[in-house]
């Protein structure tokens, strides 16, 4: 995911906009997946006891 994000930035700076857009699209795809997983995980009930 990080690789796609960084590549997108590097391509953009190099003027390779099509490549930048492709990498950003890949980044967004994985970011959405990550966000969905995170919501499922963090919405769980907290442990009853504090350590």
């Amino acid at each position: 995911m990080i690789a796609h994000f960084r590549l997108s930035g590097l391509y953009r700076r190099a003027g390779r906009t099509a490549d930048a857009a492709r990498e950003m699209e890949a980044f967004r795809h994985y970011q959405e997946l990550k966000d969905k997983l995170s919501k499922v995980f963090k919405g769980r009930t907290a442990p009853a006891k504090q350590p």
Binding site: F5, R6, L10, R12, R13, A14, K42, A46, Q50
Partner: protein
């Protein structure tokens, strides 16, 4: 069996990739400043806590446990010269806790008049600004172009527009102005004339959809656990609210144009500080919105009332690894002398104070690490921040105040404290900073629960004070004392129509020092800096050239302004007596 001369394709591919990336990286470095050796400054001023001597007494209310996130977010402070005497006054927001609110009790915000003798007097009741609401932030604008600075307060459950009556009092004109329909949890706000019609429009960022009668229970889900400690819930897990852009109709009313303009925030992110700025010097305003725990927005204007969100492609949305951060305070300033305002954003702990270098053309680079800021700020929760010339050497330094949101961390023995010291970073004039927090006296190192911060020359002596509102207890006023006897100049601008000259830009040349700045409504964390522009001039005894780029599109150049003076400049008229750009006081009604 492979021949020994036959190479594996993998290293070859890696070599190509490495070569390609190196080439791309070289491309990426273009636009950045030439790397030079850091220039060590002379003796530093001491940052003194002068609060007690100013006779300023204010207490921000706070529940001890902060069981709900809404109790952790208030604390914006505004510098507002409400009586236009040329001496900045101070407005502190205040907020109740949930229990108080449900019981119908209010928290008193406060306005302090600058007595011009380094003391302040509480004039809140006379001014009529004590109880706007559950107040989070405050910014300054002039919605009716009468030259009297108005006060806009963002609230949990609405907004309040205070019209400055010009007689020392304010009147809420929220309903008359068409803003009473804004009933969401408002946090950031900023005045700015985005369409160039001469009237200040207004943007309001909203945080979360949050019902005091249906509160997420303390520690109830994993969203309410921090390092195994049960804490308040949020911001993760909260449903965000859309943002609002109000167009100034020129008759004292506003119209909601959020959707038509394309800034309504369809993703419903958790909006905090918002700032209008001409980030690419093209005469059109961009709008930057810091979103908590999500990507920042950067809206590019077409100058005709429509915006396109370009945060990701401008590299201001996320950190350099593509992570969304808990974006809170926003400082803008040309710390590099490259002619463009860069941005510094405060964040939660385990993140860092993010410095986004403005490379021009609405391209930014996250230089938090190479500027030496990231490493020093990953352990604190940052809020108010400002670029300000601490030692008047002509190079913007960076200050930030910190303070955690969970009081429970103090009891958990996890190496994190609720109260945290502030931080000052000295500009080394080569794109890097040095943490001098420990070298400017003990005042900044006192642990506090910092929130809002505003910088300005409170006493008109060429030294920039920093006013900090703390979530718990008294505010603090820091003042640089001692240090090298550097020169300075202050400019108070008045546009032909916009008497506060919001987003007018200035380029000032003094010998080899070339600085730029812009008049901005809003900044820091839900706060308002002095609207006057201040420039340190180091050893230069005069500003050789001052170029002003007005929002109207006009520009003018002044030459040979002596240092150590504050000048009033009227669009089209150059330097004028300050009385001529300030409205005449109105007799009390």
């Amino acid at each position: 069996m492979k021949s020994k001369t036959q190479s594996s394709p993998v290293p070859g591919l890696l070599a190509v990739l490495a070569f390609g990336l190196a080439g791309l990286c070289l491309h990426a470095q273009r636009g950045g400043p030439a790397v030079t050796s850091p220039q060590e400054p002379g003796p530093l001023p001491r940052l003194a806590d002068i609060t007690a001597s100013t006779k300023l007494r204010f207490n921000h209310l706070a529940s001890p446990d902060k069981k709900y996130i809404v109790e952790s977010m208030s604390g914006g402070v505004a510098l507002i010269d409400y009586d236009r005497d040329g001496w900045p006054d101070i407005y502190f927001t205040n907020a109740p806790d949930v229990g108080m609110q449900l019981a119908g009790k209010k928290a008193r915000s406060a306005l302090f008049h600058n007595n011009r003798d380094r003391t302040f007097t509480d004039v809140t009741d006379k001014a009529g600004v004590a109880y706007p609401c559950w107040a989070n932030g405050a910014v300054v604008g002039d919605y009716n172009n009468d030259g009297w600075p108005d006060l806009f307060v963002t609230c949990f459950g609405g907004v309040v527009l205070y019209r400055n009556n010009g007689d020392g009092s304010f009147a809420s004109v929220t309903r008359e102005a068409g803003l009473a329909g804004d009933t969401m949890w408002a946090m950031g706000a900023a005045f700015g004339d985005y369409d160039g019609d001469g009237f200040q429009d207004l943007f309001v960022s909203h945080y979360a959809a949050y019902d005091l009668h249906d509160l997420p229970a303390f520690g109830s889900t994993l969203n309410c656990v921090y390092h195994t400690i049960k804490v308040q819930c949020g911001p993760a897990g909260l449903k965000g609210s859309p943002d609002s852009l109000y167009h100034n109709n020129g008759d004292g009313t506003y119209t909601d144009v959020s959707k038509a303009a394309g800034v309504e925030d369809t993703k419903n992110l958790l909006g905090l500080t918002a700032v209008w700025s001409d980030l690419d010097n093209d005469g059109k305003l961009e709008l930057f919105v810091a979103n908590d725990g999500a990507q920042n927005y950067l809206y590019r204007s077409d100058g005709k009332g429509h915006f396109r969100e370009i945060g990701l492609e401008s590299d201001v949305a996320l950190d350099e690894n593509g992570n969304a951060l808990a974006n809170m305070g926003v400082a803008a300033g040309d710390y590099l002398h490259n002619g463009y305002p860069s941005i510094a954003i405060t964040h939660f702990s385990e993140q860092y104070l993010q410095v986004l270098r403005n490379d021009g053309g609405l391209r930014f680079t996250d230089v938090s690490n190479i500027s030496n800021i990231a490493r020093a700020t990953t352990h604190v929760v940052g809020w108010g921040d400002a670029f300000f010339d601490f030692d008047n050497d002509g190079w913007l330094d960076l200050i930030a105040v910190n303070g955690h949101v969970y009081p429970q961390v103090d009891e958990a023995n996890i190496g994190i404290n609720y109260r945290e010291p502030g931080q000052l970073f000295l500009n080394l004039r080569n794109g890097t900073f040095r943490d001098v927090s420990g070298q400017v006296g003990p005042a900044l190192k006192v642990p506090r629960v910092g929130r809002g911060l505003a910088a300005g020359d409170l006493f008109n002596d060429g030294v920039l004070e920093v006013v900090v509102e703390n979530l718990e207890g008294q505010p603090v006023i820091f003042r640089p004392e001692g240090g090298p006897p550097h020169h300075w100049i202050t400019l108070e601008l008045a546009g032909a129509r916009d008497k506060l000259a919001l987003n007018a830009r200035v380029k000032i040349t003094a010998g080899d020092l070339i600085q730029t700045d812009e008049v901005r409504s809003s900044g820091s964390y839900l706060s308002q800096n002095d609207l006057r522009l201040h420039f340190g001039l180091a050893a230069h005894r005069r500003a050789d050239k001052v170029e002003i780029f007005w929002r109207s599109g006009a520009s003018e150049t002044l030459t040979g302004l002596d240092a150590d003076h504050a000048y009033c400049i009227k669009e089209g008229s150059g330097v004028v007596p300050c009385g001529s750009i300030r409205p005449a006081r109105v007799s009390p009604r």
